[in-house]
């Protein structure tokens, strides 16, 4: 199936799903569908990497299958696992005259297979978006596991044979670059670097999520958030936090207050965007300067 007809179509449909894509994002999203290749999205936390995959799924009414990566993730959690307990029960429940060969055939059948996200995504018939989140958190061994899935869209289960995707899922991998991914994985993917948005784009995003926010307030919040990001805090504010902050301020009706009162409200609610004690001090300094 074609996911998007052109980069413009991609931008329009993602926009319809609540995701404002810039040129690079729209082009990459289009190409990922067109070339049938996984899309590796890299960038700092909170710039909408995961949201992109969700938006693609929403735009097509496709099912989102998510594999959340973490240290220690293994085959049994990512691909498939045999249901030992059920197999044991089946053997104990079997009649005495049943031959071992028949039992063996039976306990290694579909019924005893627990599919995990990667296999689930490949076996699905409907349109599927496979999100492999924070792939940099896994161990190097899991990358090897991903190679077969990402290049050929197939999974080999020794007892059942090779399962090939009937319909290629749209694959999005996200990474915070806390570890360098191997060249082999990078080569199989399209690469998209997402960074903190420009003030104009961030204002658009905020307005699209909080339509009843006053223009001056949005402008001010986005300006402060931009300063906080360049102030090298331990954790830079994410786009979602910016939206939350505007929402908070709108709830406090800061937009209709005077300048000083609005500034005071912003300082009181700084906790929405700044989440470290040591950052709070630096952020208050920046806020005073703004």
């Amino acid at each position: 199936m074609t996911w998007f007809a052109s980069p413009d179509d991609a931008a329009a449909r993602l926009g319809g799903a609540g995701y404002l894509a810039d040129d690079a994002t729209a082009t990459s999203a289009y190409l990922a569908g067109q070339l049938g290749k996984p899309l590796l999205v890299e960038g700092p936390a909170g710039v909408g990497k995961t949201e992109l995959a969700k938006a693609v799924a929403r735009a097509h009414g496709a099912e989102l299958v998510r594999l959340q990566c973490y240290e220690g993730l293994d085959e049994a959690r990512a691909l498939y696992e045999w249901n030992y307990k059920k197999q044991l029960l089946r053997i104990q429940a079997g009649s005495d005259d049943e031959s071992w060969a028949a039992t063996q055939d039976d306990i290694f059948s579909e019924e005893f297979l627990l599919t995990r996200p990667l296999l689930t995504a490949i076996r699905r018939d409907g349109p599927t978006v496979l999100l492999i989140d924070e792939v940099d958190k896994t161990d190097v061994e899991v990358e090897g596991l991903l190679l077969e899935v990402l290049s050929d869209f197939q999974v080999t289960v020794p007892e059942l044979g090779t399962i090939t995707a009937t319909r290629r899922p749209y694959v999005v991998l996200t990474s915070n670059a806390s570890r360098d991914l191997s060249e082999a994985v990078r080569r199989r993917c399209l690469f998209l670097h997402l960074d903190h948005p420009t003030p104009e784009r961030e204002r658009e995003i905020v307005v699209s999520h909080v339509p009843d926010a006053e223009d001056a307030l949005v402008r001010r919040v986005v300006d402060v958030v931009g300063r906080l990001r360049s102030a090298e805090l331990r954790k830079a504010p994410s786009i979602a936090e910016t939206v939350d902050w505007v929402r908070t301020l709108v709830a406090l009706q800061a937009g209709s207050l005077g300048d000083d009162a609005a500034a005071a409200a912003m300082e009181r609610t700084l906790g929405v965007v700044v989440k470290h004690g040591s950052d709070l001090e630096a952020a208050a300094k920046e806020l005073a300067r703004a």
């Binding site: 690079a24 067109q34 990078r186 690469f191």
Partner: protein, 443 residues
């Protein structure tokens, strides 16, 4: 025709240090042919998505893309909009480079850069005009003239205008691009491509970095430290499983009918090292010392203790500057002050510094301590102080010397690198990449 361009571009990327596999090359062609060549921005992003796999390669990619797929051809895209150097060759009114024109352009530039509503395209148009008017270098053989961003910026002196620094940097970059584009058109993109690409941030030498590059490097340190910390933590944990935890193993085997399918182990007790950093903060190597200290601070959780000492010809302890979460700019400023305290006569003296370190702070080094000495080993021909260094080596678990100079400059002039290297393993550490590799392998 376009295939030639494509292949030339891929070749230039490879020559510029961006690895491009054959499969990526094919993907790029498939991508661009499905998009068409009409929109330059789409072509750029399609190439970026398929050929680039690392953010650090992006500047080189952009520079080369501008050369191989220039936004316009000829001396001006403004066409009728402005008298260009070429069209106004014949002497007469509207000479391209007159004082009057200069004032006029400066005034328009100031207005444009001061106005936040100015678009990139407008800045670019001004840059095109500026290079066209003031950037021409006439060559010796007639007609062999070329273009220069340097000349343009010197004539125009935009730095004297009263405008925002970011806007100014944007304009200067646009002038650079335009000059390169014109040169590339005359001499071929390949000719320019070889010299136009700056090395990626992690390959810029500490000792020769420009102010802009230093800022970029400062931003690169935190993510680098995060990557290293994740890696170090993992290395400390994995591969060394502790003794079998019988209780947990038996408990979990109940779920599988008493068959212990998986074994459980006790965690190992982590063994962490004490780190002592001795850094030369004299002018020649100060940048290197700062970056290394910043990295060490960011990694402090990986060590049980970190102490830092700064020296020029005397030693002071600067550990208290390195508190976690401290503002990086402040730390750097404080280090400059510390330099004042570390000076007696003002000339680097390794022998003296090492002696006073061993005398006054000798207790900082113990059998569990790793010592890092940061410096270029240039001691102004004074006594190198090998005796106190040897004493330090004997007392510590291990000692490393990181030298920011390229290996071939060791032992030249007043460098004592060879003599120190005989006592302490010395590693070349010129850029962030080498620094990261050292930390990963030795700490």
């Amino acid at each position: 025709m376009m295939l030639d361009r494509h292949l030339g571009f891929v070749g230039a990327l490879r020559a510029g240090g961006v690895p491009v596999a054959v499969s990526e090359d094919l993907d790029a062609l498939a991508a661009v042919s499905s998009l068409g060549w009409e929109r330059r921005a789409s072509v750029r992003e399609a190439y970026a998505a398929t050929l680039l796999k690392r953010t650090s390669h992006r500047p080189a990619f952009d520079a080369l893309f501008d050369l191989w797929f220039p936004p316009r051809v000829g001396t001006s895209r403004l066409g009728e909009a402005g008298p260009d150097a070429d069209s106004a060759q014949t002497e007469g009114q509207g000479a391209p480079d007159s004082g009057e024109q200069r004032e006029d352009l400066r005034r328009r530039l100031e207005e444009a850069l001061a106005d936040p509503a100015t678009t990139d395209a407008q800045v670019e148009a001004l840059a095109v005009e500026a290079v066209g008017r003031f950037g021409r270098l006439s060559g010796r053989p007639a007609g062999a003239s070329t273009w220069s961003a340097y000349t343009t910026l010197r004539r125009l002196a935009p730095g004297e205008l009263d405008v925002d620094e970011d806007a100014l940097a944007g304009f200067e970059a646009a002038v650079q691009r335009e000059a390169l584009r014109r040169i590339a058109e005359q001499k071929g993109a390949e000719h320019v491509g070889r010299t136009a690409v700056r090395p990626a941030t992690d390959r810029v030498a500490f000792t020769s970095a420009s102010a802009a590059e230093l800022t970029q490097m400062r931003r690169a340190v935190a993510p680098l430290a995060r990557r290293l910390a994740a890696r170090l933590a993992r290395d400390h944990r994995s591969g060394r499983r502790g003794p079998l935890d019988v209780r947990r193993t038996v408990r979990s085997s109940l779920g599988t009918g008493g068959v212990p399918l998986t074994t459980h182990h006790r965690p190992r007790r982590p063994r962490r090292t004490d780190l002592v950093v001795l850094c030369d903060v004299s002018g020649s190597v100060a940048h290197f010392a700062r970056f290394t200290l910043m990295l060490v601070v960011a990694l402090r959780e990986q060590f049980s203790g970190v102490r830092a000492f700064a020296f020029v010809d005397d030693v002071v302890e600067v550990t208290d500057l390195l508190r976690p979460g401290a503002d990086v700019a402040e730390v750097l400023g404080d280090l400059v002050d510390a330099r004042g305290r570390a000076v007696r006569l003002g000339r680097t003296d390794y022998g003296r510094s090492l002696r006073s370190f061993v005398e006054r702070h000798g207790d900082a080094v113990g059998p569990r301590t790793t010592v890092l000495v940061l410096g270029d080993a240039r001691s102004n021909y004074s006594d190198p102080g090998l005796v106190p260094l040897k004493r330090m080596v004997d007392g510590a678990r291990q000692v490393f010397w990181l030298n920011p100079e390229p290996r071939r400059q060791w032992d030249s002039g007043d460098s004592d690198a060879g003599r120190y290297a005989a006592v302490v393993p010395m590693a070349e550490c010129r850029d962030l990449d080498q620094l990261a590799r050292f930390v990963r392998e030795h700490l």
